[in-house]
């Protein structure tokens, strides 16, 4: 299990990086933390001709909190985001979710942007970005563009990023209003990819009645889907809403697949149970927010 050979590039600036990507496109692949990519390389399931290592782009090693959004640069490790107190203060969902991403040693190296650019349908951060209606910023020699999460993910392991584009950052907006957000998942082993995972954001009005509820999932379909659950619970008091109905609504709209760890039926059942649990918890959080 040793990777095939590749031409190696280690640009020192973002400008250099996009220049290299343009030059080698479409045969280039960006290497950031490598926690998803290097296993594929070691197993020779991927063998890009060119590897563009962005680990020197320290200008992208940041977590910025800017009022109502958290922006994460492409070289911020999961652990940097997880342990960023300012980010936690405005958007605790990030830390709460990151604690479910593999194990600390992986989070020490893996980057949040990298896992989003990898677009694994089992990747928690892809779901969170979609759930929050976040954006990804892409740079190339042709310029910079910002893409909504819903448009960014185009299928399992595929995004709208062109081969010459570098995802330089992602932005997680803080939900507006009186909201609570919760991530929960069931995994076979602690730290494994979830069999089913869901993040739920619940918004309450001033009377603590449910004004809105949205959820997103991992391992429940080819790409992260956001569901609006509001219809099942709108207007109910936060501690009296029929969250089970929200769970049923969610399960009815997801079409998971069987795999070696779980049947589709079990996944749907988990989606129902976990959605209800997470939504109830999120509502309680919103009530004290």
């Amino acid at each position: 299990m040793k990777p095939a050979g590749f031409a190696y590039h280690r640009p020192a600036t973002v400008d250099d990086a996009v220049a290299v990507l343009a030059e080698v496109s479409p045969a280039g692949k960006v290497l950031a933390g490598g926690q998803s990519l290097v296993p594929l390389l070691n197993m020779r399931l991927a063998a890009p001709e060119h590897l563009v290592d962005i680990n020197r782009l320290t200008e992208l090693a940041y977590v910025r909190v800017d009022g109502d959004e958290v922006t994460v640069g492409a070289l911020a490790r999961h652990a940097d985001v997880e342990h960023d107190d300012a980010a936690y203060a405005v958007l605790p969902l990030l830390r709460d979710t990151l604690e479910h991403v593999a194990h600390p040693t992986i989070r020490n190296r893996g980057t949040t942007v990298g896992s989003i650019a990898h677009a694994d349908p089992a990747g928690e951060l892809t779901a969170v970005l979609t759930l929050l209606g976040g954006t990804a910023t892409l740079r190339s020699m042709r310029g910079e563009r910002t893409v909504a999460a819903a448009d960014f993910f185009t299928g399992p392991l595929t995004t709208c990023a062109d081969a010459d584009e570098l995802v330089t950052s992602v932005t997680f907006p803080v939900p507006e209003g009186r909201t609570g957000a919760v991530w929960t998942e069931v995994a076979r082993r602690h730290g494994d990819y979830a069999v089913c995972g869901t993040g739920v954001v619940v918004t309450l009005d001033d009377d603590l009645r449910v004004a809105g509820a949205r959820s997103a999932y991992v391992s429940m379909g080819p790409e992260p889907a956001v569901l609006d659950l509001t219809d099942a619970v709108a207007g109910a008091m936060y501690d009296d809403a029929d969250w089970a109905a929200a769970g049923r609504l969610a399960a009815g709209r997801l079409e998971p697949d069987d795999d070696i760890h779980a049947t589709a039926a079990y996944r749907s059942h988990l989606a129902e149970v976990l959605t209800a649990r997470a939504a109830g918890d999120a509502a309680r959080r919103a009530a004290v927010a």
């Binding site: 990777p3 590749f6 190696y8 490598g34 926690q35 290097v38 600390p104 040693t105």
Partner: protein, 164 residues
């Protein structure tokens, strides 16, 4: 492929000692340490980042050396299990705790545990038993059933405090 691969000089400070070797870009850090620097304490159990046997500290943080190219971490400070001893060469606190608690059997996974726990205790000097179990949850051991490794974490915390 018949053309020779481009080579890179990679310099690291390993366990406080500057070391360098010239290797292709695809040389994994685990292989660089083991075969180029002949520091074979770091072990390779899966080469896909799951077992944790290859865990080393890069600039103080535990990482999987099988998921890094040596060239990527050129210039870094690396600590391997060989560097977890006391300055006089005696067993370090984590190593001593493993010995006292029978925290190892075959010893193959052990270096990854020792490095992981060493870094963990720097951040969390007095873990509970549950936290100790959680702290080692990213490393696989097939021999011990982990119970004595959990005990080793707790004992290492005591020894560390005593030696401080």
């Amino acid at each position: 492929m018949s053309a020779a691969e481009e080579l890179y000089e990679v310099s690291l400070v390993v366990n406080g000692v500057p070391r360098s070797a010239t290797v292709p870009a695809r040389r994994l850090l685990s292989d660089f340490l083991r075969h180029d620097l002949e520091l074979t304490g770091t072990h390779v159990g899966c080469e896909h980042g799951v077992c944790g046997a290859c865990t080393v500290l890069v600039d103080g943080r535990p990482i999987r050396s099988c998921l890094q190219f040596a060239v990527t971490v050129d210039g870094a400070e690396v600590t391997t299990v060989e560097g977890c001893t006391r300055p006089d060469g005696e067993l370090g606190h984590v190593q001593q705790a493993f010995r006292e608690c029978h925290g190892l059997q075959c010893g193959f996974c052990t270096p990854g545990f020792v490095t992981t726990i060493t870094a963990y205790l720097e951040e969390n000097p007095a873990p509970t038993a549950d936290q100790a179990r959680e702290a080692i949850a990213g490393n696989l051991c097939r021999c011990t059933g982990y119970q004595n490794i959990v005990a080793s974490v707790l004992r290492a915390a005591e020894l560390r405090a005593e030696r401080a």
